[in-house]
Symmetry: C2
Subunit: 334 residues, 2 copies
């Protein structure tokens, strides 16, 4: 089949050991031999088998990544950053896309186990008991990126979702808004569900604004749910003057819904999103959004995971990155 180290050795007139040595850049090889070996490698178009190497070295240089939705701008941007950082550390990515399908997750984790990936990055927080146990037994370092599962035993790279939501809401309040609707996430999610909701509620409370139950709805982070939920708000006699959606996609859905109802953003209703995905810049009006440092998040995720793999770091503490409100054109002072 393909050319192997033996062929190279034969052609260069040396032993496989010597070939292996020049392959791995060891010294203790005479220049002349080194040249002959390199020549043979070139002639034969030889590339060492990563498979065989992995087997003997007990090291695969593989990272497994589980993405909830590859088509999402937010996740694909993190993934891009993760890929870059991994690559520059000589790691490759095995990418898996569970589309919200928990069964798939199991399947993929199992594949990761068989593949002997050195570390696993997970980007969703819907971890059930079974999966949790499976991961624990895996003995492979796992890190969560941009999400934090209920389970305290895992490390996440995230922003302070509570504070971020608090700040976003406060921004709207500072603009003079009092009827601020909230389009939340899944309350089973710790970070993007509960914490952002708490941030919203407490910002309201701290500024003496009455919490109105009717102004709160929960979606699934996607455009359509933002659209549908906004539609409900628009049926009210007393429409909200501002909306805070906990994902940019839902914010875009909300904006579209408002526009499609013949109203204007921000003239009639102000909208704030969350994530800082590039979409917020592409849409008109450009959407003001509570940005997560997406690029940095990918980098830190990989760097931290590699530290775990190297056994350098043993903290079980989350890594909190800074958030920042990117003010664009979707809000106006009241």
């Amino acid at each position: 089949m393909s050319v192997k180290i033996k062929d190279v050795a034969k052609r260069a007139g040396v032993s496989t050991t010597t070939v292996s040595r020049v392959l791995n850049g060891e010294k203790y090889v005479r220049e002349e031999l080194k040249d002959r070996v390199n020549q043979a490698i070139e002639d034969l178009g030889y590339a060492p088998s990563h498979i065989a190497r992995s087997l003997v070295r007990n090291k695969t240089n593989l990272l497994g990544v589980i993405v909830p939705d590859l088509t999402s701008s937010f996740y694909s941007t993190i993934l891009s950053s993760i890929e870059q950082t991994a690559a520059s550390n000589h790691y490759n990515l095995l990418v898996c896309n569970i589309s919200e399908d928990i069964d798939k997750e199991f399947k993929y984790l199992n594949i990761f186990k068989e593949m002997r990936v050195e570390g696993i990055i997970i980007m969703h927080e819907k971890i059930n008991e079974d999966i949790r146990n499976f991961i624990e037994k895996l003995k492979i370092p796992v890190i969560f990126s941009s999400v934090k599962p209920m389970d305290q035993s895992f490390v996440s790279v995230i922003v302070d979702d509570y504070a971020a939501a608090y700040d976003a809401t406060t921004y709207l309040i500072g603009l003079g808004h009092k009827q601020i609707a909230f389009i939340g996430g899944d309350m089973r999610d710790m970070t993007s569900g509960q914490n952002r909701y708490s941030g919203y509620r407490n910002a309201l409370a701290d500024h003496g604004i009455k919490f109105v139950h009717e102004l709160v709805r929960f979606g699934d982070y996607k455009v359509n749910s933002g659209y549908a939920l906004m539609g409900e708000f628009l049926r009210y006699k007393h429409k909200p003057t501002a909306v805070f959606a906990v994902s940019d996609d839902m914010a875009i859905g909300a904006v579209n819904c408002i526009i499609d109802h013949g109203l204007k953003v921000p003239e009639d209703i102000s909208v704030v999103g969350f994530d800082g995905s590039q979409m917020t810049e592409l849409v008109r009006p450009r959407i003001t959004s509570m940005e997560q440092p997406i690029q940095r998040m990918g980098e830190v995720t990989v760097e931290t995971l590699l530290q775990f793999i190297a056994g350098e770091k043993r903290t079980a503490e989350d890594i909190i990155l800074g958030h920042r409100l990117a003010v664009r054109d979707s809000c106006r002072p009241l």
Copy 2:
């Protein structure tokens, strides 16, 4: 370290061969033994090493994918489809993101070679002589998805770009437009560069519309270039009444530019995009776009590649999928 087949064998009181047999679902194993083995596997939390298997079977079940830009909605959607199709055929994806960097491409192809991926999917057409030679020597099936490199020796899964561009332009002509600007791609690209340009020109010619050199600009498929190029058209005394951009991203850029100049789409200028990315639905006005069957494209890419790998198919013919104009809100009859 981790538990291996030997441990399972010992615990079940059988030979490794027997374990291997139940692992691979062979018959010729007594029920009782099978149960004992499965029990041992469960007790020990054993998962066979894919590495070792690959080595002996000479089969990795790995596909390498090279994406030019993971953050692009178009590519990430294809990738998602590719992942799904691969997964359901028990193949895993090694994903690499060359951000237009040809050197990276080499590096990645080399990694694919070392990894012994069984097939390679490439999603950009900037293939130079060196890369081409490298691929030829690789002896690994390669397929291009959504693009066609100059080199005739490769198989691509694409739409008929010429016809698609022709049809898109004809649609605009049918609406009564005569000043139709064209925002093209890279003319070094066969499919998205040359063919779409020819389609535009010939549609014009066939309908007796004079080709105006000033109405043609070439970009890099991204939002910003669409924006910038549209800006040039808007400086003309005689502005075009319609624009055909050969990517949805550029179309979005063009629309934004028009809006930012205080004009309206489609009232003042009509815009047609190309690709059928989900963005066209999320933006207001929704953008009329010449759609590629993105989902299907991913499926067909993987299916065809797997046929190549199985040695079933030896055609060097491109696979042409149907295009279709998705009429939305960005065009109006003149």
